[in-house]
């Protein structure tokens, strides 16, 4: 009898202590967090990112899964880990990410978003990369595209709401001032559809960020090729609400740590994006 009672007690003790021990481990990890997140993120246990998950290799769904992958996903997860919380990525159309952030659907945006003066009117940025923009053409470059100057009179596909789209619009204003033929800009809500338009011969050129172009070419060497050199490097940042300075500082610290302990270098090397690091 006694023995069995001891047995019950020890089982009960184990039942109580094991979860306690686990909780202890979790809180120990939180204590080990190198960056203090804002209270709402800490209590939720997760940071939610809005991201347009159609932008390989920065963010995309892995083959045959509904699991987001990519450099931004790794970086966002790294930032969350330093805060001692989980990372969650919500898929949003790119033109909708800023409204989604402002309407508090998420805590931050990580979506290969260029840090521009116009966007700074709406959100705050923590820069973590610096990428150029590249022209992509059909393999063999049948239309002899070698740079911005050769786009006059051509049809170009681009993703809606990107800096690339705005850049083409500006280029068109220049062309009309010079009385040259305009670029026909075909805007797609999803970046992968803009690339499909080139693959199916609907447009002559695709215009996007250099790492993305490099990825498309790597995936489909028989269809795509670079045209000319990358142009106009712009910083890329994680966006946060302007009235959320605590998160802004936390993300800033996390990115700095990731560059210092080389975890950023490893992530970028994994996705063949070493050339786009902020600090070399």
């Amino acid at each position: 009898m006694r023995n069995s009672r001891v047995g019950i007690v020890s089982v009960c003790a184990a039942a109580v202590l094991v979860p306690l021990g686990l909780a202890g481990a979790v809180s120990a990890r939180t204590a080990a967090a190198r960056v203090q997140p804002p209270r709402e993120i800490k209590s939720a246990g997760k940071i939610v990112y809005c991201s347009d998950i159609t932008y390989p290799p920065e963010e995309f769904y892995g083959k045959g899964t509904t699991h987001p992958e990519g450099s931004d996903i790794d970086i966002g997860t790294g930032v969350a880990r330093l805060m001692g919380v989980k990372a969650q990525f919500d898929n949003t159309g790119f033109d909708g990410v800023i409204p989604a952030l402002l309407s508090k659907k998420c805590n931050a945006i990580i979506s290969g978003m260029n840090d521009t003066a116009q966007r700074r009117k709406q959100v705050g940025f923590v820069d973590y990369l610096r990428v150029g923009q590249s022209l992509m053409v059909k393999k063999g470059n049948p239309d002899y595209i070698n740079g911005l100057a050769s786009l006059s009179g051509k049809t170009v596909s681009v993703e809606l709401g990107t800096t690339n789209a705005a850049f083409l619009e500006k280029e068109n204003q220049k062309l009309s001032a010079q009385h040259k033929a305009q670029i026909t800009i075909q805007t797609f809500p999803k970046d992968t559809d803009a690339a499909t338009a080139l693959k199916t011969g609907r447009v002559q050129v695709y215009f996007g960020d250099s790492p993305v172009v490099a990825w498309y070419i790597k995936q489909d060497k028989s269809s795509f090729a670079f045209a000319g050199q990358p142009i106009n490097p712009i910083p890329v940042g994680i966006a946060v609400r302007r009235n959320d300075p605590q998160l802004h500082t936390a993300v800033q610290k996390a990115i700095r740590i990731m560059y210092r302990n080389h975890s950023m270098t490893r992530i970028l090397a994994k996705w063949h994006m070493t050339a786009f690091a902020l600090h070399k």
Binding site: G96, G201, R202
Partner: protein, 265 residues
């Protein structure tokens, strides 16, 4: 919350439409009209095929409805625009389609074709219901008078069926005006695409989408008036009544009026 909306932006988008907007509005109108026309023709052809004595034609007609009513229209749009090139290895629809008098952008044309084919499947069902609604005796009487099947169809059945077909057809076109916004996904800047593109640089989604909703409402209201007019014309002999243009506009807004009068109509 309403105070957050920059109403002057909404007003500016409504009262001072610019050139790019006018072009987008016009695109929405002609894409919808052209697609609906294709749908009306395809629907009639396939509805007649369904009643054919040849089994092959009946099968084709049935398969057509099965496939095009059973798959999402956005998938059909992608298939017509992108899929054909990848499947058949040649460009089914060229990037510019030349009609002699005018040239159409390939994406616009693909959109019209896809929406039209999809619409045809729904129209076939509407025709079917309309034709079935006419008493069998009508056809028998026409034939006993010496009319051929085709002539009886043209002179006796279809004119009577039209009265049953027109109201749902109007409904379909109302739908088409809004469904046409899907062609934005293949890069056609129509009414909705224009709002999306402007919003993507202005970041004022509420303002831009409120304005675009207003414009869709304008289009559908205009159509309601036209539809009422067509229905009146078809029913005139029976009812013999005439109403003014003003009354027709009010009739388009009947749901609102019903609400105001407490719905007791």
């Amino acid at each position: 919350m309403l105070a957050v909306v920059a109403w002057h932006v909404v007003w500016q988008r409504i009262a001072h439409p610019d050139h790019a907007f006018a072009l987008a509005l016009w695109r929405t109108v002609y894409i919808s009209v052209a697609a609906q026309l294709i749908g009306v023709c395809l629907g009639l052809i396939t509805a007649l095929m369904r009643m054919s004595r040849l089994r092959v034609l009946r099968l084709v007609s049935g398969a057509y409805v099965l496939v095009f009513r059973g798959t999402p229209v956005i998938v059909q749009i992608f298939f017509v625009y992108f899929g054909a090139n990848l499947l058949f290895g040649f460009t089914l629809i060229p990037n510019t389609v030349n009609f002699g008098l005018f040239a159409l952008n390939g994406a616009v044309f693909a959109g019209i074709v896809a929406l039209g084919i999809n619409e045809g499947a729904y129209m076939r069902e509407i025709y079917r219901a309309g034709i079935d609604a006419i008493d069998k005796g009508q056809m028998e009487a026409a034939k006993s008078l010496g009319m051929t099947y085709g002539l009886a169809m043209r002179r006796i059945i279809l004119p009577q069926a039209a009265r049953v077909i027109i109201p749902p057809l109007g409904n379909e076109f109302n739908n088409m005006l809004k469904t046409s916004s899907l062609v934005f996904f293949i890069g056609v800047t129509e009414l909705f695409g224009d709002a999306e593109i402007r919003n993507s640089t202005a970041f004022q989604p509420v303002e831009y989408f409120t304005a675009v909703a207003f414009w869709y409402l304008v289009l559908t209201t205009i159509w309601s008036v036209i539809q009422a007019q067509i229905e009146r014309a078809l029913a005139r002999e029976e009812r013999g009544d005439q109403i003014s243009f003003r009354e027709r506009v009010f009739q388009a807004w009947a749901p609102v009026a019903a609400w105001r009068t407490g719905g007791s109509r």
